[in-house]
């Protein structure tokens, strides 16, 4: 189904974007928009957040540049380096770390599930980024949109916690649930 058909069928605004993302693209996204993303996703969950912040707080550099990029709260299931199933994990676990990661890296997007808290909402607004949700549990569908693994970092954290750079094509549906104007989809 193409974007127009999808928009009509579900009465949603469909946006197709390619990474790296520019600030004005991000600022034009609104809560409730549905994004299909192409380009690169960086999987980062609990341990990758901890390590990235350790490095950045020391004034160090990450082995990958997140400026304009989109991170994915995901611990993929792999066979060797082939991604078998790769749905999102619960984003709230990263709430205590996300605002700082946004500030220190200039990332423009986060994909996860379940929503995030106020600190992240403020950082999204201040630095120009969005939070999107892919349907939880739909790991096979997510893997279908992943063409290949381009790089992997920090594999010593264990495969689910490592940072996998994935080349994706039309990765979605990703529902924008926190935008860069401070709007939040869920009433808490």
């Amino acid at each position: 189904m193409d974007g127009r058909e999808l928009s009509l069928k579900f009465n949603v605004n469909v946006r197709r974007l390619r990474t790296p993302l520019r600030e004005e693209e991000i600022r034009s996204l609104r809560v409730g928009d549905v994004v299909y993303l192409s380009g690169t996703l960086y999987t980062m969950r609990d341990m990758a957040h901890v390590r990235a912040l350790e490095v950045l707080r020391r004034g160090g550099k990450l082995p990958f540049d997140l400026r304009g990029e989109v991170i994915y709260h995901c611990g993929p299931l792999l066979k060797g380096e082939e991604v078998i199933s790769a749905g999102p994990t619960t984003s709230m676990r990263m709430e205590g770390m996300e605002a700082e990661l946004i500030r220190l890296t200039g990332l423009r997007g986060i994909i996860g599930k379940g929503g995030m808290g106020e600190k992240t909402a403020e950082a999204l607004k201040k630095f120009g980024a969005v939070y999107m949700e892919f349907p939880g549990g739909a790991g096979a569908l997510a893997a279908r949109a992943i063409n290949r693994v381009k790089e992997v970092h920090w594999r010593d954290l264990g495969d689910p916690e490592a940072v996998w750079l994935m080349e994706v094509e039309e990765f979605g549906p990703c529902v924008v649930t926190m935008d860069s104007s401070g709007e939040v989809f869920r009433k808490r």
Binding site: V34, L77, S85, T89, G115, G137, A140, G158, V175, R186
Partner: protein
């Protein structure tokens, strides 16, 4: 019982959603619109695609729990289950989920201290057979499950409130629409066991106790009235079923456990009659 049969069963468990669960999700389509409907359609497409490709529907292949009825040979069966888990982790594959809780070290086998989790539950229907139910449960929904030691004076209303509040507090985290397993009575750990075990009953099977069947229906209504909806994005369908198991408890206690299960309720029933192996679903 052959290890190969078990590996195959685990593959089936992880790649094909039970038809009653898929049926309930399909039923939710008619009640939802907009983004919530889009989410349910994505879930159903995921279920279809996982089955077609023979890949796990969710990357969190969970922790597997085994409920076994057999006449004897417990140690041998436990060893075979451990071997099957080790092999399935490589071959299906399963994500290596089990870690040391203190050091977070992961051996990569889905085994470790206390694993595999096997419950031996008495004898099979026919002497010499082996009957087994397996459930695979991810962390997103297990993390929001809870046990309560209620004041017995709170009675049935207290039980209802505990269930509704647990689902409300869980919100979007457990990947709704959820199935809610409720364990009432026993003691602290038995109520938790009953809540997990409740999830094994097919959604198409009514609770054999009429009062409890009505209570389950009432709880479905109350939970759906929360409006959490698919993936917590709002909507009519927060749950596709409430399943309750119970046991007697201490006169001064009212233990209630609520096991919240994501939409991907992965369960399977197996049977060995002599050398004949069957997946019953």
């Amino acid at each position: 019982m052959r290890v190969e049969d078990l590996v195959e069963a685990i593959r089936f468990l992880e790649t094909e959603l039970p038809p009653d669960v898929e049926g309930r999700l399909r039923g939710a389509l008619g009640r939802e619109s907009g983004i919530s409907r889009m989410v349910i359609e994505a879930i159903l497409e995921n279920v279809r695609y996982a089955k077609e490709k023979g890949v796990p529907m969710c990357q969190d292949t969970g922790i597997l729990e085994f409920f076994v009825r057999c006449s004897n040979g417990h140690e041998e069966i436990r060893d075979k289950i451990a071997e099957a888990l080790r092999r399935a982790t490589r071959e299906v594959p399963l994500r290596a989920n089990t870690v040391n809780p203190f050091t977070r070290e992961n051996e990569g086998t889905n085994l470790g201290r206390c694993h595999p989790i096997v419950h031996f539950e008495g004898r099979p229907l026919n002497e010499g057979d082996i009957e087994m139910d397996i459930i695979a449960k991810g962390a997103g929904s297990e993390n929001v499950s809870a046990s309560f030691m209620l004041d017995p004076m709170l009675g049935v209303e207290g039980i209802k409130n505990a269930v509704v509040q647990a689902v409300q507090k869980a919100g979007a985290k457990p990947c709704p629409p959820v199935v809610v397993g409720v364990g009432v009575g026993g003691n602290l750990e038995r109520s938790a066991h009953l809540a997990k075990k409740a999830l094994l009953r097919p959604l198409s099977e009514k609770n054999p106790n009429r009062n409890l069947a009505e209570l389950e229906e009432e709880l479905v209504g109350k939970v759906n009235a929360l409006g959490i909806g698919p993936m917590g994005l709002g909507g009519e369908t927060t749950t596709i079923g409430v399943l309750l198991e119970w046991g007697h408890c201490h006169t001064a206690s009212l233990p209630v456990s609520v096991n919240i299960q994501c939409w991907a309720l992965r369960r399977i029933s197996l049977e060995w009659q002599g050398k004949n192996f069957r997946i019953l679903r």
